[in-house]
Symmetry: none
């Protein structure tokens, strides 16, 4: 909260490290990134990371924090939206900004790429990330979905629907390597953000409209019960 504000000491090296590290971490992930490459890109000494951030992990979590704030301010989930906008519209905006955060190849999107990795190969930083970034977004989506479902829909059903929406979006973030290999010359390669937003929004709205709540099955002996946690 106070060391990222370039407090006055010429922490130019520190800033360069954060910048370079964001690039490298986003490109190859935490494990595959090497301190040497980061320092070289930052024009700093090998020992700089340990000096400024104590650890490779310390650097990583700081990068995540900084990039998180950056991304949030860049693709707000309710961009240009009146507070009383209809839920359908709020859903579309939510989906679009989510896709942007997740798909954008721009330099500013390193956060999206890092989060995708965190989800598959969590580090110690994931806890904090869930609390500060993911949870609020989940709540926001729950609220939207809840208001699109019939009043009285049980919260568990609201959640399932929300996850179905999120799943459609994150798919494009996580499975790019597969998509580019499936019929590589086809339309998969170039999908417009707008088209994708339209599709997922329509698909989801149609599903929500037609929703008869998935019954919470009474657990019977035959219905296998599966933990999702690790």
């Amino acid at each position: 909260m106070d060391e990222s504000t370039e407090s006055g000491g010429h922490a130019v090296t520190r800033t360069a490290l954060l910048e370079a590290a964001a690039d490298v971490f986003a490109d190859v992930g935490f494990q595959n990134a090497t301190i040497r490459e980061i320092c070289q890109k930052a024009g700093a000494n090998v020992a700089a990371v340990n000096y400024h951030f104590r650890d490779k992990e310390g650097l990583y979590s700081e990068v995540l924090r900084v990039q998180g704030r950056l991304a949030q301010s860049r693709f707000p989930s309710n961009a240009g939206l009146a507070d009383d906008a209809p839920a359908e519209q709020r859903l579309e905006v939510f989906i679009r900004s989510f896709l942007q955060r997740v798909l954008s190849e721009e330099i500013a999107n390193r956060h999206g790429r890092m989060m995708a990795r965190e989800m598959v190969e969590p580090t110690a930083a994931l806890d904090q990330l869930v609390r500060q970034i993911i949870q609020p977004q989940a709540n926001q989506l729950h609220e939207i979905v809840g208001s699109l479902l019939p009043a009285g829909t049980p919260p568990e059903t609201v959640r399932l629907h929300s996850l179905s929406i999120v799943g459609q979006i994150l798919f494009y973030a996580h499975c790019r390597p597969v998509l580019s290999r499936l019929e590589p010359r086809s339309a998969y390669d170039f999908i417009e953000l707008d088209q994708l937003t339209q599709h997922i929004t329509r698909f989801s709205l149609a599903a929500l409209r037609d929703s008869s709540p998935t019954p919470t099955r009474r657990r019977t002996a035959s219905s296998s019960r599966r933990p999702i946690s690790r």
Copy 2:
């Protein structure tokens, strides 16, 4: 006796290595896995991997192949289904078996975890994987979805719908670490396979029924065009 397929010779070490490697690779991924740990778990010498599989990578790709066949034979995508079963039913069976392959915590599911990793951090093995495992399933789903959409629906639209379905499923495979951290005491932790199957099937069928094809938007200045490929 089942997975030692072609060798015939009683290469007990070879089998033990495949078993141990499947565990380790599924747990920590290709990069983070060490040959030493695998060999130790298999009760074999470090050089055994080189002897039987030439390489760490050779071992990995063989594990992927074996586990792939295992998973496929264990949760076939058309289990107990008449050839002329209605598309709705075929979709449900597809979804359920996919979820099983992906979510099962049983010993047999190491394949699901390895594939999830491949999608995020591809190795050289992904190409083969796409060709042998993923492509056929994609075709199967396309066929089902195609027959649920109005005749004449453009293939690109069929694909988008298919991906929306796959996305919902894979979400639970890729994002478990996040799910277990979001309200860890809630229902997220334990979701029944049956309930999940029901939900995704209903959600998707509703969306498909109500489908008006997503228009391929004319590109305007404002509609940013984003490549999804790497």
Copy 3:
């Protein structure tokens, strides 16, 4: 003396190993050769070398022995020469056959290449080699040179002259890599055996004719005394 004569047992593997090993040792030397490559070339098992020859070194020394006999019978140092041929002619024949043994790229010359290596990087086999192959040739040359020098020339002088001749010859065996890099497009690349024989013979004969014996210097304080042995 008895195991190399294919004694009757179908030691076909043994022979194949000797053949393959000769190739490999001549190409890359003892250290760089790997048992695996040799066995593969011979179509034999990895354990075959240890079984038949006890050791990598055992194989090597046997190869050297066999190839030695082969080379000797192929390029005899007194080919087609009357016993009473003049010394000049005997020298020319000696030089020519030596060059042949040493320079020939033919398959039969693996011995020459192996000996060149032995001289620079001796193994335990060198002792035997010196005794059986080199010493006799040295004696032969000494005899020739002795009869070309004035009677009464001290043996040490005879030896020095002999070594000067041998040095000229072996130079082309040991320094090929350098020669091919010095003006690689020049005449160095293709030197005829005949031309080389002529040159070295004439050069040496001229030197011998004009020989005033190198005086064995009385050792003074200033003349540094240098051991040549290792």
Copy 4:
């Protein structure tokens, strides 16, 4: 202080590594040398080589460079020689200094032993070596020999004579192990530098004086044409 040329920083480890490596490389060659032994002799960590020289090969090539300069400055090929000294004298000095570089058992002679190895089992460093060390000396010798032969002698003949001289010298560098095994108690073991210089000089001068150029033979069917290049 002398060989740490360009760094300036007091890289004591770096120097120690170069020193130890020179010893080990000269003793056992590039392939057989182990980084571990070198580092142990230098009192350094295994990773030191990687840090200072990037590679085993990087270390080797640097050692070669440093030792080359050392040898050259220690035994210059024209020591105490007037520019207009007669060719005979220049030849003697050339031969003596060459022998010194090659035979000296002193600590400074590791270069000679390394070069002998390079010639037989070249590494990537040989190209550079030829360009920087060998080529200039070859030119120098050509010049001397050329002025000792009749005007108009074809360059190819000059080269052959030069090689005959070099061969006599290098023989003592390459074949020490053999020499020490041939009549080990005889004079071979201890040959004085002066005596050797005298012998080779006289031998060669006599040959040069009497030179009738080796005719470039017309190729006949019987004269086998052999490439010397690899």
